[in-house]
Symmetry: C2
Subunit: 124 residues, 2 copies
């Protein structure tokens, strides 16, 4: 029996985390801030990730447009202890990942972009 679409999306998130060592948590969030699928460790609250993702997406879109950078594609926030990365998934969702400070950003963005393409197809 085929897995449900939700299970397939979670599996795709887990594959991404395996492919790019350094991602410790990831979630697919709708533009209005609801979790579609997630692969989060127990110490990361789903509600917090979805709320922050939606807020960042909204402000990021506004900044990119107001400062003449066109429509939003990627955001990355570096803190002292690691990264938060967001990439758009079609026009209705965003893929958010948390990564450790020693992670290779180039690799992470590459794997996120690949996962985002696959997830966009699953959402269609």
């Amino acid at each position: 029996m085929a897995n449900s679409r939700a299970e397939q999306m979670v599996a795709r998130l887990r594959d991404m985390q395996v492919a790019s060592a350094g991602i410790v948590a990831s979630a697919l969030v709708s533009v209005d801030g609801l979790i579609i699928a997630s692969a989060l460790p127990s110490d990361v609250e789903e509600d917090r990730v979805s709320a922050m993702s939606a807020a960042m997406l909204s402000l990021g879109e506004r900044i990119a447009l107001e400062l003449g950078r066109g429509s939003l594609e990627e955001v990355y926030i570096r803190g002292e202890h690691g990264y938060v990365l967001l990439t758009s998934v079609g026009s209705d969702a965003v893929l958010t990942a948390l990564a450790q400070v020693e992670a290779k950003r180039g690799l992470i963005f590459l794997e996120m972009r690949r996962a985002a393409d696959d997830l966009a197809e699953m959402l269609e």
Copy 2:
């Protein structure tokens, strides 16, 4: 006669733009959203850059803390037509740069970090 501190800061921003081909505009903005110094082309409004910088800084700090990434160090937003990059300057200001889409991000962050260190000293 020595240049004023404001002139020195603008000169430092211009040097950064020369050192990292791809930065088309830059500004040093206080955490409350006031321009301290800027090197902007005529089609980029100072008020818009300062408002967006302060909004991004505020949300970026909140996201980094809420998602356990520690205090905010850098933000980058990629749009279809280019980047907006922010890096903290001491605890009271942020350096914002607009870059073209073909710009080399690694080089830009390196030059921004160097400029931020110099600007932090000038602000002391």
